[in-house]
């Protein structure tokens, strides 16, 4: 217990205190002269958010984007992780490095690069136009598609790593056993490999979902004003308008969503854990 004390203190200072402060701010009044009016306790900020279809729409869009990004990451990362996990050890390291190398470049720079690639006179449109496939440039920038592309690229590694870890730690004799018992390679995958990789899939999905939901830079740069998400709304209220109570309320809603995701994950996997594993 004594040993974890420093960690707890660190958590207290850098996490619990800011979160508590954020929550307290969100339930107090807003005033132009003091920003937070501590004499008023109110749920007005939450009501304003939850009763305005504009903000509820942003909430829905945020979740929707995160779901799509998570699914695409899963579909793309699983085969890659599977492929790498089946390589010999030394090559695994090299391939992982290749797949994880985007992490070495800052999100802002990667996103900026995407904005150049996707723009109306960018590589994609130039290529398609050059091939004579399109007359007018495709409007990809400043759409959900651009944001999804950017987020998938940025968060792919967070899906790939846990799935890879789950697959690489699997005893290969299990698949051999399944095939030996009469399962075709496909069925061996479906009944053995995949179920056993589910903790990795779930961990990756939760990570990517949470990261996508709280993404700020990528939706702002690639989506412009047309793809509004909770994080950019919270930023705008907090920084541009100094309406910290409303900004905090939006943040608390985002945090609640995140915690709910983790809670669902925990719940599902506490049950699942009794059934499996490691």
């Amino acid at each position: 217990m004594l040993l974890v004390a420093p960690l707890l203190a660190l958590f207290g200072v850098f996490f619990f205190w800011p979160v508590a402060q954020m929550f307290l701010t969100s339930i107090h009044g807003y005033s132009r002269t003091t920003i937070v009016d501590y004499s008023v306790i109110t749920l007005d900020h939450y009501a304003r958010f939850l009763t305005d279809p504009f903000y509820v729409g942003i909430l829905a869009r945020t979740i929707w984007l995160a779901v799509i990004v998570t699914l695409i990451c899963l579909v793309l990362a699983y085969p890659a992780a599977y492929h790498i996990a089946r390589r010999p050890g030394r090559r695994q390291g090299i391939m992982l490095l290749v797949f994880l190398s985007p992490l070495l470049v800052s999100i802002v720079i990667r996103t900026y690069a995407w904005s150049l690639v996707l723009s109306s006179n960018g590589i994609i449109n130039s290529l398609l136009a050059g091939l004579g496939l399109i007359q007018e440039p495709l409007n990809i920038m400043y759409t959900d598609v651009a944001v999804v592309i950017g987020l998938v690229h940025i968060y792919m590694a967070y899906m790939l790593l846990p799935i890879f870890t789950a697959l690489a730690s699997q005893d290969r004799a299990l698949v051999m056993a399944a095939q030996n018992l009469g399962a075709s390679p496909l069925r061996a995958f479906w009944y053995v490999t995949f179920p056993l990789s589910r903790p990795g899939v779930a961990a990756g999905a939760v990570l990517v979902f949470i990261l996508s939901m709280s993404a700020f830079v990528t939706p702002t740069l690639l989506g412009g004003v047309w793809v509004k998400v909770l994080a950019s709304m919270a930023y705008e209220q907090t920084v541009s308008f100094l309406n910290w109570p409303f900004g905090s309320a939006i943040s608390v809603i985002l945090l609640a969503l995140t915690l709910m995701t983790v809670a669902v994950y925990q719940r599902v996997f506490r049950q699942d854990r009794s059934a499996a594993l490691v």
């Binding site: 800011p18 939760v206 920084v239």
Partner: protein
């Protein structure tokens, strides 16, 4: 194993949300000693600070300036407010609009005319009641255009606000986002074009909606303007002469015009942070920034119109930077009431989001 995963997920979730949301959570400069003055301003001025302002101030006063760059003015005010209990900054230099938020919030220490003697040489419009802060420079709002694209396509350079509505610009117009200083002024100008004014803003929104299908994007930072014009995605946009000057200096192929049908004054505010680490140094720095030497330097290098009456700027600089220079010229520019605009800005932004930014 799965317990480890979930803990990691939880931690990342917390860390992300907490960091994204906590105001002023960014790194802060270490507490300064008395020989240092901590100044925060827009990052576009980094070069001017490094090249001239910091060394000159050191030469004049023996004090060192620590420059803290920020991307947008509002972020800077948010920082000062977040640090209110324990201020880390001495002086801030920001756009007038967010600057007045600081006045409303009582974040500033009034200027001391004894320590800031240059105050007496400023134009009247530069002075703020009680010298709670000072408007140190002006720039003008107008239209920036992509000289490369215009030349290549033989387009006629813009001269008036109405040029924004030329159909050939469809998909290549950059507007200042309504949460910035320039956004609300553009709205007011559009309202005027439609027969309204600051108190009758609906016609402004109508014109915004009319223009929306042609807009490439609504941006908040000089950096994004630079990117969009450099990559030829943007052909024309609402911007200031000073902003255009910064973009030009960093290699963007841009020109600037002050529209015939309405020039707006964009003030830049200097203020001393209340309770800052070096109060005297702060006042000295403000005085230094108001000196004709610096005013002339910023006119030449940043396109900032001087507000110290004694500043002399050569004609070629005035022309090259399209400076508002001299009392007559400055008086012709329209000034907006930021104390009022700050109260309506959030509502206008929300309305823009709901009514205009849905049109693509």
């Amino acid at each position: 194993m799965s317990r480890g995963y979930s803990f990691a997920a939880l931690f990342v979730a917390f860390a992300l949300v907490a960091n994204a949301c906590a105001p002023g959570a960014q790194g802060q400069p270490a507490a300064a000693e008395k020989t240092e003055v901590v100044v925060s301003a827009l990052g576009g001025l980094q070069k001017q600070f490094d090249d001239f302002i910091i060394p000159e101030f050191q030469k004049d006063t023996g004090k060192k300036v620590i420059f803290v760059p920020k991307a947008v003015s509002t972020e800077l005010i948010a920082d000062v407010k977040a640090q209110q209990a324990n201020p880390q900054l001495d002086v801030i230099h920001i756009d007038e609009g967010p600057g007045y938020e600081g006045v409303t919030l009582g974040l500033y220490e009034p200027l001391d005319p004894k320590l800031v003697p240059n105050l007496t040489d400023m134009y009247d419009l530069a002075r703020i009641k009680g010298d709670i802060a000072v408007i140190s420079r002006t720039s003008v709002l107008g239209l920036m255009y992509n000289t490369k694209v215009f030349a290549a396509r033989g387009l006629k350079a813009p001269t008036a606000w109405n040029d924004l509505f030329r159909p050939e610009f469809k998909g290549h117009i950059v507007m200042a986002h309504s949460s910035t200083t320039f956004g609300p002024i553009t709205l007011i100008q559009f309202a005027k074009m439609g027969g309204g004014d600051v108190n009758n803003i609906d016609p402004g929104f109508a014109r915004m909606k009319q223009l929306a299908p042609n807009v490439l994007s609504y941006e908040k930072t000089a950096a994004r303007y630079g990117e969009l014009f450099t990559s030829d995605q943007a052909w024309i946009g609402v911007w200031s002469n000073a902003g255009a000057s910064i973009n030009k200096a960093s290699g963007a192929p841009v020109g600037f015009v002050l529209p015939d049908d309405g020039g707006y004054l964009l003030g830049g505010m200097l203020a001393v942070v209340k309770g800052g680490p070096n109060p005297k140094g702060a006042q000295q720095f403000v005085n230094f920034m108001l000196s004709p030497k610096i005013q002339a330097y910023l006119a030449k290098e940043a396109g900032f119109g001087p507000l110290n009456k004694k500043t002399v700027v050569p004609d070629d600089v005035v022309k090259a930077q399209q400076l508002p220079y001299g009392e007559d010229q400055i008086k012709k520019l329209v000034r907006v009431d930021w104390q009022y605009l700050n109260t309506v800005r959030p509502a206008w932004t929300e309305r823009m989001a709901k009514e205009v930014e849905t049109i693509h």
